[in-house]
């Protein structure tokens, strides 16, 4: 028998406890041993919870219990769970966590601390999709060329509403909040931070890159407008909030931003609250993993899979490698990103404007792929939309600054979105 302590008995914790009970036939057959949720640690004993295990507020006592084999950390936050996981490892407990924020900040210290103890975290990225296992085990023969993921269900739900049903950003957000997909303060989801935490975990497994959320480009979806949506439809793109990790020479790009994704990309078809991660490896080619990225039971599915792996005696290195991985690779600065770009301008409608903009792009060696001038006027101005061939972020930023200085354009009348094909 393997005894599990659940630290944090909220939505996911309750699902873990209840599924361990409901599916115990299949779980013990697969684990080869009975798995028992022995104790739950909570902050408030008076809160009603639909679980049938003893509860306590004393985490230290639980971490010292000799009969507890696995500590499952589901409390959220960063520094408090970090202390608890450290203590659990010091007390020789195996650990399972679903905590992406904890791992976004402390995964390397934790890998070091864990040593030969299993520290598994399948549920930390993309909920029920076994993407950690796929990347750490199933694709381990590959140099990973790119990871492109829809890692935040809230944003994807809103973007689907905006594109498929022409909802405004505000209306989409309201609906997401009403359905319980978005928090009252949605910043963590719509601002790209949640996706960034998950991306950093995937990038560590793929590239051994040590980076924190502060080190990478993170842009949210709040600035997407109807014009962007119309352009996307007209040119066969979807707009997705993507987490992207991409090898570029001896560097790695890590970035989260709204993206124009060509319809032919398998990830473009992923709608609503679903998550998906496309991984391109040098041997395997393109793969994609699709499923629910959140929800109590789906996340618990991943947590329990980790518990079963530990029960089976599988250790595996936490991040998937025992010594330095791709040690020549370094994190590229945002300015070093290479991408195709979509440029959106509001310009004064007079002869020569297009020519002067094209001239600036050409000066920066940026090659234009398509142009669309819409005959719709806003305050005496017309919309001018471009897409470019692949170029460097630094060049686009400088070119945009120069274009903004044109009298016929002016401050705040040019913006861009990156394109993925």
């Amino acid at each position: 028998m393997i005894k599990v302590a659940i630290i944090g008995v909220g939505t996911v914790g309750s699902s873990v406890v209840n599924i361990l009970e409901k599916n115990k036939d299949i779980i013990s057959a697969r684990a080869g041993v009975e798995i028992v949720p022995a104790i739950g640690v909570v902050k408030n004993l008076n809160k009603k919870r639909e679980v049938n295990i003893p509860l306590t507020t004393n985490v230290d006592e639980v971490l010292q219990r000799e009969d507890i084999d696995i500590v499952v950390e589901l409390m959220g936050g960063v520094e408090e769970p970090y202390k608890i996981v450290k203590k659990a490892l010091q007390n020789k407990k195996a650990v399972v966590t679903a905590n992406k924020a904890l791992l976004a900040y402390h995964r390397y210290e934790l890998q070091e601390l864990a040593g030969d103890l299993p520290l598994f975290y399948e549920a930390s990225v993309a909920g029920g999709i076994p993407i950690i296992g796929a990347l750490r085990n199933g694709l381990s023969a590959n140099h990973i060329e790119s990871i492109v993921g829809i890692l935040n269900g809230t944003s994807n739900f809103m973007l689907t509403k905006m594109i498929k049903e022409n909802a405004t950003y505000e209306k989409a957000l309201k609906e997401a909040q009403e359905l319980g997909y978005a928090e009252a303060d949605p910043t963590f989801d719509v601002g790209g931070f949640d996706a960034a935490h998950k991306l950093l975990i995937l990038a560590s497994i793929a590239y051994g890159i040590d980076a924190k959320p502060e080190d990478i480009l993170i842009e949210g979806i709040s600035s997407i407008t109807k014009t962007d949506v119309e352009f996307a439809k007209e040119f066969d793109y979807e707009i997705k909030l993507l987490g992207i990790a991409k090898k570029n020479g001896d560097g790695v790009e890590l970035r989260v931003h709204p993206t124009m994704v060509k319809n032919s990309h398998p990830i473009a078809k992923v709608d609503g609250v679903m998550n998906a991660v496309s991984v391109v490896g040098d041997c395997v080619g393109q793969t994609m993993f699709y499923g629910p990225g959140a929800g109590g039971d789906a996340t618990a599915s991943a947590v329990i899979a980790d518990i079963i792996e530990i029960a089976r005696g599988n250790k595996g290195p936490m991040l998937g490698y025992k010594k330095g991985l791709e040690s020549g690779l370094r994190l590229l600065k945002p300015s070093q990103i290479e991408s195709k770009y979509y440029l959106k301008l509001k310009v004064v409608d007079k002869p020569g404007v297009l020519a002067s903009i094209a001239k600036i792009l050409s000066d920066f060696n940026i090659s234009i792929s398509s142009v669309l001038q819409k005959d719709s006027r806003v305050a005496n101005r017309v919309r001018l939309l471009f897409t470019t061939h692949k170029t460097q972020e630094a060049k686009i930023i400088k070119a945009m600054a120069n274009i903004e200085e044109l009298e016929s354009v002016g401050k705040g009348n040019i913006s861009m979105m990156r394109i993925e094909e």
Copy 2:
């Protein structure tokens, strides 16, 4: 250092050897140890191969070598590799195989023989997609409700041609053969047998069901006509050759057949030679795994992932469980399958025909979902197409037999396809 013997140095074997060399930096970092392809066993030493390892024809000698840790079986066939894998296990070698036919017939004996020795087979189903790992590990907390897979790239390529480009079956086959996707005798692929082998492996992991190809329903794609394709387009279906494993009460349906798949199903969007497997679990909900199902390098990606897992010391039970799994479940007979159906008839165009057909369906308690009568005449007859609500295969078969006996229908003028939504 871990030494590997490669039994069978064809397309996949050569890729395994070459990727172990080309990607050895990342492979040894992930495995924690250097992995060396030490020897290849071939039938014909004179055949030119692009690999840089010693070759021999003496398999027995290789299986007895004390310095060989892992035997990789890539020779194909059933009984000969079965003998070799048995001998390897008896000699305490870990085994990796990509051989679906071997496993379709001998997986339970092999699990028994392997005992605590690792016997891994990620490459046997869906090539480079890590679907075995997903099902055996990542989704192990779930009772699996269904597995629906595009498991044969050749058939999917042909069906894509037939639907997207209106190619005939013959033209699609010819193109597949010219591109090297189909054999001169394509029966194994287009007849559904290849998909059936893979389905049996997946069903063993999900349900512990012991069945052989002979025990299950297998239909190929050769009878699909332009009428079916036109109907599919008109009613928002794709036609896919699917391998389906589905829990139905205390039974399991296992079947391979061409299927009308509703466009909204994620698997409907998988085109060309790509494979995909959709798995629905009781906790996780719907997931899908997508990627290349064949090809030397993609398959080698999975073979090497298994080698790395063995090097890491992971054992895991071969089929994912240490004792009986869902032991109450039994294999349902083809007649017990439950599905929605598409019925295609050629009927004499006279009053009362539709009524008499509808009467027979109603007598068998089969409820009609949609009807389409096309105004196109073939030899004085008209096309009549139905879809039904869910019913049992036995009822449809009997109803079809009765309908065939109507004077206005007649032998050979009714056929059906199953529907998946």
